[in-house]
Symmetry: C2
Subunit: 392 residues, 2 copies
């Protein structure tokens, strides 16, 4: 069958706040082929990804993303991979294209799974769908006392793992950070898996990061995430030499397989964190998961939007039994909750899995989506290149 339409829907909360919460807007993707429909999601900056879908061609290696997708064949996993290769070649000089492709690739896998009546992880070649241990992801409190309270709450909710992120961490005194780490460990209990996200606070400053290692070790931190920006391979690697048993984690900024492989090869990572909505979709994320497993690095999903995105991010490593930690957004805005009729929830053992239902196993809620839809129009040289499409 042929791909007949690609529709992008820009969704947003009524007001978007200047806070580190990526669930405040969304770019929902619908792809249709034959009698089938698939759904996906591109991470961040909806308007920019819409523009890259429909923009006029600049030259032969800078074409709108839709030109490499619409009208092409979709019968097999290889067809999806061919579409990704075509987008990367035809939109080589269009920087945003990787993010735009991500949501389309996810929707294509969803569509193919629905058509073949198989979950995506089976189409990816996995025969089993293993339990993952979700971690609750929250910001550090403004004070160590607040962090202690947050950790107590997370533990009471049944989570075995928690990640505390940035907020005041790394930007104040060493003593402040020590107290924060002690509070997080105390609240989580001796058995809890403690993860710390520095949110690139030290950019490329190895000394500032190294100064926190003793406190991170004392709190028995499993990983230190994003001490530096994604490109700082040498800095990551230098820090990793002194960090054991605390592992280096990073990778959410990667927008193609090469970037993630460079982090695995050169940054001394123990955990590579991949957002399927950014790296080019499930196809590329699966390649990175394979590469990580071969190189002794643990794959982890990066997700902070809807459960559609969460399902997409779980598929690439659903079948890798010993890569068990999973990011599980716990403080989503209503948009990200409402936009799907079903949700991925921890079971009685506190673990989650990719859905068993066909495709991504997540159904969009069109009534809810309509309430968050942002009317958008792009006109170039007297032609309307984009207008918010009809939902039904």
């Amino acid at each position: 069958m042929k791909i007949e339409s690609i529709d992008f829907f820009y969704l947003s909360m009524p007001s978007v706040l200047d806070i580190g919460d990526g669930s405040q807007d969304a770019l929902l993707v619908r792809v249709r082929a034959g009698e089938w429909t698939g759904w996906g999601e591109c991470e961040a900056a909806p308007l920019v990804s819409i523009a890259s879908l429909v923009c006029p061609m600049s030259h032969s290696a800078c074409k709108p993303v839709q030109d490499s997708v619409l009208g092409h064949t979709l019968d097999s996993a290889n067809d999806i991979r061919a579409i990704g290769d075509r987008v990367r070649a035809n939109s080589l000089d269009l920087l945003q294209a990787d993010h735009t492709l991500s949501g389309i690739d996810i929707a294509l896998w969803d569509l193919l799974g629905r058509r073949h009546n198989e979950p995506v992880w089976r189409l990816l070649g996995y025969t089993r769908n293993h339990d993952k241990t979700p971690y609750a992801s929250v910001l550090f409190g403004d004070t160590a006392e607040e962090t202690l309270d947050k950790a107590h709450t997370i533990r009471a909710q049944g989570f075995r793992a928690a990640k505390f992120g940035w907020g005041p961490f790394g930007a104040g005194t060493l003593r402040d950070d020590e107290l924060q780490l002690q509070a997080a460990r105390e609240g989580l209990g001796a058995e809890g898996i403690l993860l710390i996200d520095a949110g690139t606070v030290w950019k490329t400053d190895i000394a500032a990061a190294r100064a926190r290692l003793p406190a991170l070790k004392a709190a028995r931190t499993t990983w230190l995430e994003e001490p530096f920006v994604s490109g700082a391979l040498a800095e990551y690697h230098a820090l990793s030499r002194d960090s054991a048993p605390v592992g280096m984690a990073g990778g959410e900024g990667c927008h193609n397989a090469h970037m993630a492989m460079h982090m695995i090869d050169h940054a001394g990572l123990s955990y590579v964190q991949i957002d399927a909505g950014r790296i080019g979709g499930i196809s590329v994320a699966k390649d990175v998961a394979d590469y990580a497993a071969q190189h002794g690095v643990t794959y982890v999903n990066h997700t902070f939007t809807s459960n559609l995105a969460l399902s997409a991010s779980l598929q690439p490593y659903a079948g890798i039994e010993d890569h068990v930690i999973s990011e599980f957004p716990t403080e989503l805005k209503s948009l990200a909750v409402d936009m799907t009729t079903n949700h991925i929830k921890p079971d009685h053992n506190g673990t989650i899995r990719a859905p068993e239902a066909p495709g991504l196993g997540i159904e969009p809620d069109l009534d809810a989506i309509e309430r968050y839809l942002v009317d958008t129009e792009i006109r170039v040289a007297g032609r309307t290149l984009y207008r918010t499409p009809a939902l039904r």
Copy 2:
């Protein structure tokens, strides 16, 4: 003084053809502060960079680029660097932002140079503006005979260097490529500097690239450019081990300093080719030039649009005496020629230099620009976020 306005102008030829010619459209940037105006250019995909300038915020690390520029102070080179740092932090999750920042950074340097009555290369700390040897950049002919003719013409025009790119090269038989290389060398004469651009044709296929090395060596090729995609560091490195005296060249796809540094550190490059209109502007390009010089890699500009972009691309290495090869577009579409009133031309010795005039030393031709202006409008949730601004 404060930055008062950023205006993006989308320019295009009446029709854009599906060919490897990047001069068919342009995104011209005008920045105003106090009584001063500066001009810059973003490489490729005008509509997408416009969208990233004005898009609604997604969250605290995904803001429209203009939010990190408008209203901020511009008195010194450090202010320009602070603006770049702010864009990279505030638009961390907005992939297109590096390309968008590029044109703004270029315009800021132009403005600052005009205000201080100094060429940009002086503001960058260079005391001298060294001669560069321009190479004429053309496609291989469809046959070896055509390539021979092209090389004869280039030589007759007084060029000492020429780059032949892709077209049929690398995609056909080995014998075809041998004949093409022999023709290029013969037409250019024994003394000519011969550069070959594979245009990423082998993607990551080391064997296909290696098979061409004997012919490249026999034709005394100075560099082999882009045998692989930019991210293929390991493949570049593997090929570089067997390629001497043919040097590896690449880097045009880099959109931040880290990517270029990784190529320098891990790809076995002899030449790093940087487009100031993509990598984040003159500021980032200068950092890469410094890093390249320190690591024994020769810096080369990448430019295939207007002379405004060419001036911007020459500034970062204008003062490096022994990095002399320079990309000089010779087959520009009328848009790219007409949009400036003055042009950079080889002198009687066949060399070019960055202009001595203040700023970038290139004046936009508003009458001509008006003829190529593409009327563009973006509306989101009932508000007009962008409409083609007034040129005067």
